[in-house]
Amino acid sequence: MRTYLIDANKDEVIVDLTKTIVHNSDLVEFEFSTCVDNSLVNKENIFVRRLANNYFSSLDGKSWRKLARQNLPKKILNVDRVFDLYRGYKPSGLSAGSEGELLTQMPGKIVKIAVKKGEEVKKGQTLIILEAMKMENEIKSGMDGVVKEIHVKEGDALDSGVLMMEVE
């Protein structure tokens, strides 16, 4: 079974479950690999066993570490990246926003729009001030260019991934 892991920047990791061995009703062994350019690398065997209603994992079946039990999660975490999980299929219609497209990285409220449509902007210039979790965050331009379109207005409450402004 193949699992696609796709993070917020649309970077993806493809993990293949190549073998499942059921040792007994409490112990299962999985063989995982990562698919890079159509070849499988980083092959590892992982043991999982249930103890005291928790999951423990091991590489050798001898030393065990507890893992958080999850209810068939749609997301998985690696330090600063949260991956969306797609088991068995790769979702279509996912494309990365271009440099000039300003998307909200987290839900928030527009406090101030610092530029007007048609205005020339420089890389690093503050375009929008977005308030999220009681902090004001300055959204800066990723490039030199001209403001092509503003899709939001001051006071708007936005979800994550909303297109706020286009610069070209």
Binding site: F32, Y55, A68, L72, L77, D80, V82
Partner: protein
């Protein structure tokens, strides 16, 4: 059986807060035999703190202004539910003197200090003036709010750069910005004013001298209605990012064995508290320079996020004491000397934020488990399925470690950080691990510039950890197989 029967009247206590502190207060109310009344909003129908509340009340509305900050709505709830006392926790209405006054006028107990103390200490200018009068040293700067950016620039020139722009009504690190030169004052003035207006309903700003490489040291105060004021020693909260604390410890490693200095700073705090006839739990914050001279910063007239570390070293329950004090009960503390401390306690604030950018990162908790050594306390509002929304502060829990000495507390904390599993949500746990592995931190020779100098966020390994990914995927597969 009602345990209140032998201790006094059972009260109905309304908790106008959420998250871990609401749970903490509810548990204290239950312990004292009072009825803990919790509130929930449309934003958070499954709020974790309700677990410990005896009664649940719905505050309709989504924004904080419609709910936790809506004095009118809350006063109505108090009347309809025959509430005897209100605990505001921290944040929200905890330092709103008008709210405390409105309650007092209605004959309802505000579990906090008297409204006049909140008013005087809530305003940086009046609190500084009072401190000066009481003989408590203060940082050079404006006594009153500056009228405009022009005056701010004049003052800054007068006291010398770097300076700090601070909201008159600010607190908790919000509405505060350091400026190194004229240009930065010009750039930041408007933004800080706007942020403070939005956050505290007051956009007035102060200008004061910035002490370089300072230590943030604060003293826990507890007072009763009979005029007894006690201190519970100090806490050091110098590990901050964007002027917000992330790690606190008690006692302060900077003060260390200097018992004379400890006695001096603690007694200074008591002196200030006495000057406002303080009658509840509170904290006097000081800034301490490299030469160990200290200046009064502000007094927080509420319980603080980091109160557990003081509880751990003194063995006192500050929330219980705060409730008893508010209802005029005896704290059963014979004298200051009776309050002693043992060992060392450290707290890590666990926040839903990106460990690299340190920016808030809302999301949902898909997995949550703990596996801690002895000596760990975890005050939190986490559960599997919790949605962390951008409407509230990103702090989701406080991990507290206590050891005989600082090294032991650090060892326990480091072990606990490895045993705290939060899935589905970015947290600052990797950042804490880097700090607890750092020798500078371990030696305890750090100031508030630590995060800026050491940059732990750059030392967090962001490399894809295949093994850990596989392990997580393995549990998903195992779960799917029905293991």
């Amino acid at each position: 059986m009602n345990i209140r029967l032998k201790n006094g009247k059972q009260r109905r206590v309304l908790i106008i807060n959420r998250g871990e502190i609401a749970s903490r207060i509810a548990r204290a109310c239950r312990e004292l035999g009072h009825v803990a009344v919790g509130v929930w909003t449309d934003n958070e129908p499954n709020a974790a703190h309700l677990e410990f509340c005896d009664e649940w009340i719905h505050l309709d509305g989504k924004t904080n202004a419609e709910t936790y900050l809506n004095v009118e709505k809350i006063l109505k709830v108090i009347e309809e539910n025959k509430i005897d006392g209100v605990h505001p926790g921290y944040g929200f209405l905890s330092e709103n003197g008008a709210f405390a006054k409105a309650l007092t006028d209605k004959g309802v107990t505000f579990i906090g200090p008297h409204p006049e103390a909140i008013r005087v200490m809530g305003d940086k200018a009046t609190s500084k003036a009072l401190a000066k009068e009481a003989g408590v040293p203060v940082v050079p700067g404006t006594a009153k709010a500056v009228v405009d950016v022009k005056e701010a620039l004049e003052v800054a020139k007068d006291i010398g750069y770097p300076v700090l722009l601070k909201a008159v009504a600010g607190g908790g690190g919000r509405g505060m910005r350091a400026c190194n030169n004229e240009q930065e004052v010009k750039d930041q003035f408007e933004a800080v004013g706007r942020e403070s207006l939005a956050a505290f309903g007051n956009g007035d700003l102060l200008v004061e001298k910035l002490i370089v490489n300072p230590h943030h040291i604060e003293v826990q105060i507890l007072a009763d209605k009979s005029g007894n004021v006690y201190h519970f020693f100090e806490r050091e909260c110098s590990i901050q990012r964007r002027h917000q604390k992330i790690i606190e410890e008690a006692p302060s490693p900077f003060i260390g064995d200097d018992e004379a200095l400890r006695k001096n700073i603690c007694e200074t705090a008591v002196k200030l508290a006495k000057a406002v006839d303080y009658d509840s739990a509170g904290t006097v914050e000081f800034i301490m320079g490299e030469d160990k001279s200290f200046y009064f910063l502000e007094m927080n007239t509420r319980i603080q996020v980091e109160h557990p570390i003081t509880e751990e070293i003194t063995g006192m329950d500050l929330i219980v004491c705060m409730i008893q004090s508010a209802f005029g009960e005896d704290l059963q503390i014979p004298n200051q000397e009776w309050i002693t401390r043992t060992g060392h306690a450290i707290e890590c604030r666990i926040c839903a934020e990106d460990p690299i950018t340190m920016l808030p990162s809302p999301g949902s908790v898909t997995g949550f488990e703990t596996n801690f050594p002895q000596g760990i306390r975890f005050d939190h509002c986490l559960y599997r399925g919790l949605e962390v929304t951008p409407d509230f502060d990103p702090m989701v829990g406080k991990l507290i470690a206590k050891g005989l000495v600082r090294d032991v507390a650090i060892r326990k904390m480091r072990t606990a950080l490895d045993g705290l599993y939060i899935e589905g949500l970015k947290t600052n746990i990797p950042l804490h691990k880097v700090i607890f592995d750092d020798n500078v931190f371990k030696e305890g020779v750090y100031s508030t510039s630590y995060i800026g100098d050491f940059k732990p966020q750059e030392k967090v390994s962001t490399e894809l950890d295949y093994l850990s990914l596989y392990k997580k995927l393995a549990t998903v597969e195992a779960r799917r197989m029905g293991l």
